[in-house]
């Protein structure tokens, strides 16, 4: 096997030094009742070439492939990824390194993550961003737990029903054995979160609102923030599509205390939902309650600028059960990719790209309305929106699929009251020609 370099002679020599007769002898201490019986029941080894054939078969079984146009976002977005990112991220000095515990031989990772933290903080309009968490879902859960640490003695958190249903599910999982209560805020007819019920809630530590939300609707974050702060809670602003902040007001500007979400849009492929990137930022005053790793600037013995992991007294390897989180890693390479992508776009590029997403989605939205579809929510949208059709959309969707277009997803599975309502997403990767084809099928 090409990954196992030992020759038979070397094994014999090494066993002699160790004082054993055989490789099996190395495991003499393991009690018989714990031993594995027989061979591991998995298929035999494949050569690199056989494995390639196997993957080609699997790839061929994907009914929706790269030649399809997928008008679906819902937390995972198709954006163009520049070739530079593939080339740079596959540099194995980045890819095959461990966590930068020895900063003198990990300055590449450390500076790269410091830059990611900086660009993230600027994008979200926040003071501090961490080195990343697992994904948008767990970032929301960690934000709520952080709120409960900051606003002591409060036992309750609230999350908008227009937050991604999977993120809400993760938050419920994280909170299920803590004794804290999680309540949901309804959405109104415009698709925006109805924060009016906050007035009657007590002991609230944090309230989370997503913008653009799961329906693609841009929330009135400033108004939500005012209501949340009036209820004595921290304002958690969540997102699944960070590109939106190239165009829209950022959460910091709208008064958010903690911002969390998914960063896949920033240079990562959909890849069936992972690897993901949990982005997380907060206001300066809360930094010592923040979960996750942080990279900070410092100097070396000769006074030269360098970077290290810092404020680790918050973390599990020092504080153990009193840590701010059990997390002991970050999504290193994904954060590096996001940094590369944000730098590749630049300030003027992200604005142009966000605008293009907005314009294209608005185009399809308007054309579908002209073709007889009804906009389910009247609130403003970014690159996603929800429509309903005056007849059964399933056969139309099937016809489009035969033309290699996946036209939205039915929301009935996530909101029973929205059965037959379709969530569409349009990014810069979709041409007007394709959008026109969708409209034509709907009009037929």
């Amino acid at each position: 096997m090409r990954y196992l370099p030992h020759t038979r002679e070397e094994i014999t020599e090494m066993l002699a030094v160790v004082g054993k007769d055989s490789l099996e002898g190395l495991f003499d201490a393991i009690p018989l009742e714990c031993r594995f019986a027989g061979e591991i029941p998995i298929p035999p080894a494949l050569t690199e070439w056989q494995l390639g054939d196997q993957m080609r078969e699997i790839a061929a079984s994907m009914a929706v492939g790269p030649d399809h146009t997928v008008l679906v976002g819902a937390g995972r977005y198709h954006h163009h990824i520049p070739e530079t990112i593939h080339a740079l991220i596959n540099r194995s000095e980045f890819l095959t390194a461990y966590t930068p515990y020895q900063p003198e031989m990990a300055q590449g990772t450390l500076q790269g993550i410091f830059e990611y933290q900086t660009l993230t903080a600027r994008l979200l309009g926040m003071d501090v961003a961490n080195a990343s968490l697992y994904d948008g879902g767990s970032a929301l859960a960690e934000a709520l737990l952080m709120g409960l640490r900051v606003v002591k003695k409060s036992r309750r958190v609230a999350v908008s029903a227009a937050v991604h249903p999977h993120y809400r599910a993760v938050a419920r999982t994280y909170l299920q054995s803590t004794g804290f209560e999680l309540v949901e805020l309804p959405y109104g007819p415009d698709g925006r979160t109805d924060v009016s019920s906050l007035q009657n809630m007590t002991e609230l530590a944090a309230v989370a609102v997503q913008s653009p939300n799961f329906f693609g609707v841009v929330e009135d974050l400033e108004a939500a923030g005012t209501a949340i702060h009036a209820a004595g809670a921290l304002f958690v602003s969540c997102f699944t599509e960070p590109l939106a902040f190239g165009l829209l007001k950022n959460p910091g500007q709208c008064g958010a205390d903690i911002v969390c979400g998914e960063g896949q849009s920033l240079g990562m492929a959909p890849s069936f939902g992972g690897a993901a990137l949990g982005m997380f930022a907060c206001r300066e005053e809360f930094v010592r309650n923040m979960p996750g790793r942080l990279v900070g600037e410092t100097v070396d013995l000769e006074g030269r600028r360098g970077f290290v992991l810092t404020l680790s007294t918050r973390e599990q390897h020092i504080r153990r059960e009193k840590a701010t989180s059990n997390i002991c890693s970050n999504q290193g390479i994904c954060a590096m990719i996001a940094g590369m992508y944000m730098a590749s776009l630049g300030g003027s590029g992200i604005r142009e790209l966000a605008r293009l997403n907005y314009d294209k989605a608005q185009y399809l939205r308007a054309e579908l309305e002209k073709a007889g579809a009804t906009l389910v929510f009247q609130g403003p949208t970014f690159n996603e929106f929800v429509v309903r059709f005056d007849r059964d959309f399933a056969p139309i969707r099937q016809r489009l699929k035969e033309q290699k277009i996946v036209a939205g997803i039915d929301l009935g599975r996530y909101y029973s009251e929205l059965s037959g309502c379709y969530l569409f997403c349009v990014t810069e990767t979709i041409s007007r020609q394709t959008l026109d084809r969708v409209v034509r099928e709907v009009s037929l």
Binding site: I42, M62, L95, G136
Partner: protein
């Protein structure tokens, strides 16, 4: 005496991203618009972020230079204990980037994504086969999240039996994530001490285990690199009191095809695919921490999981007792593909051989270095061995200094100051992918560092001197945090 691979070369300086560039430059192409400009509500729009504008070559040089300041497994030996820094096969990366896989959208119906579901289904099966456990969830994104999922399964199990349990037994050798994960589930950690042989005593567990204790969380082989030989009796005691046994699978690389986890009495275990199953660590992630359970606990696993029936593969959601989701989608899927690829490349014989050679390499290093470095537990080890700096104290040299000097010689240092039960610990895990001559050279270099500690300790105290930067001031970083530019 031979010298290690360490030398110095031409390393280039590189400023921070925002210290370069000019407004108006562009690092990637953006399509021209083919639709009319839509009306925009000025009340919703902001100024956009203050990002630097850079050209493509600015980006490429920037990150290429940064990469040259880093050290990875592909650069050289990385004997970082408890991290299993084995070689990360290139074919795994290639397969994870297969266009059909990389473009797969997780919100589509099962019929559209049979291939990705097949990979999940097969990997679930393989991981069950390798551990001896019955059912697997691939959702946890890392070992610590696998622990959290496992502890939530503990809590759900006890709740389902109407049993209130507030404590959990955790050995003092455990990784800090263990108590942190347990605490998130409402369990108060109770520390268990290892005995003079570095393993847990049956009696110590019997004394502490009661019907308010949810169970025990242990790592086997433990963080001293020693197999917990009493595990079966310990599990029997815990089970007799109605508790469950959690096995932290961080050290699975020592025992594939050799130990059957279920036969040890373990009820829940997580695996670190970025350790045992060769997926790259990525400078901190993404990893993957699948959680494996015995049949009685399957109903509590996160949803959804991939199943197969006469019509093909599908995602199964209908598990009313499930702890729910721990991830927005299916975990770090591109990491799962790499682990699948590794297992298919290795097959049963090579996985077992990998564990045998990992253990051989560690024992070989232990035997050859135990005269040079203090070995607190002198007994056969598994895939890693733990030394300390006790012999070097008389030279005024500490573990940290030896670690930094190893950098000058061209090695990533071992894990240091962990486990906490060994003061000044030096934890070496060579992994199976290092060959004998490279290990021999590493041993000679460690011996050279030990000689330097005796003869020229200044060399160690000043180290590293061959890196781009010298020792960094971590105290200043923490006292005056500068977390962004």
């Amino acid at each position: 005496m031979k010298s290690g691979p360490g030398t110095s070369g031409l390393i280039l300086n590189e400023p921070l991203l925002w210290e370069k560039g000019k407004k108006g430059r562009r690092g990637m192409s953006i399509p021209t618009s083919d639709v009319p400009e839509a009306v925009l509500d000025a009340g919703l729009t902001g100024a956009g972020p203050d990002f630097p504008d850079l050209s493509e070559i600015d980006i490429v040089r920037h990150y290429t230079r940064l990469s040259q300041w880093n050290f990875g497994v592909d650069t050289g030996m990385y004997p970082l204990g408890s991290c299993t820094m084995k070689y990360n096969p290139k074919i795994n990366d290639k397969l994870a980037a297969t266009p059909e896989i990389a473009s797969a959208h997780p919100m589509l119906d099962d019929g559209s994504v049979q291939g990705t579901l097949q990979i999940m289904y097969e990997l679930q099966k393989y991981l069950a086969a390798i551990t001896g456990m019955d059912a697997v969830s691939l959702q946890p994104s890392a070992g610590a999240q696998g622990e959290l999922a496992g502890m939530l399964v503990f809590a759900a199990y006890h709740r389902s039996r109407g049993s209130v349990r507030t404590k959990i037994l955790i050995p003092d050798t455990a990784h800090g994530t263990n108590p942190a994960s347990a605490a998130l589930c409402g369990f108060r950690p109770v520390a268990l001490k290892a005995n003079a042989q570095g393993v847990l005593d049956v009696q110590a567990v019997a004394d502490l285990m009661d019907d308010e204790t949810a169970g025990i969380m242990l790592t086997n082989p433990n963080t001293l690199g020693i197999f917990e030989t009493n595990i079966r009796q310990i599990a029997d005691i815990v089970h007799a009191k109605g508790g469950l046994v959690y096995g932290d699978g961080a050290n699975m690389n020592a025992i594939m095809g050799i130990v059957d986890i279920k036969k040890c009495g373990v009820d829940v275990m997580h695996l670190n695919l970025h350790k045992t199953f060769s997926t790259p660590h990525g400078g901190g992630g993404p990893g993957a921490g699948p959680v494996c359970v015995v049949r009685e606990l399957e109903r509590f696993l996160p949803v959804p999981r991939a199943v197969k029936d006469s019509e093909g593969y599908r995602l199964e959601f209908d598990r009313p007792e499930s702890i729910g989701r721990v991830h927005g989608f299916h975990g770090n899927f591109s990491v799962l593909v790499r682990a699948w690829s590794y297992i298919r490349s290795m097959g049963p014989d090579n996985l077992k051989k990998a564990s045998q050679l990992a253990v051989l390499n560690a024992n070989y290093i232990k035997e050859r270095l135990k005269k040079d470095l203090h070995l607190p537990y002198d007994r056969p080890c598994m895939h890693e061995c733990v030394f300390s700096d006790l012999f070097q104290h008389e030279n005024g040299v500490k573990t940290l200094d030896m670690a930094k000097r190893l950098i000058d010689h061209g090695y990533h240092p071992p894990t240091i100051y962990f486990p906490l039960v060994v003061p000044g610990a030096i934890m070496i895990e060579p992994t199976e992918t290092e060959c004998k001559e490279d290990i021999d050279l590493f041993i000679e270099v460690v011996q050279q560092v030990v000689a330097e500690a005796r003869e020229k300790p200044e060399l160690l105290l000043q180290a590293p001197v061959r890196t781009k930067l010298r020792r960094l001031d971590e105290t200043q970083a923490a006292r005056h945090p500068c977390l962004r530019g």
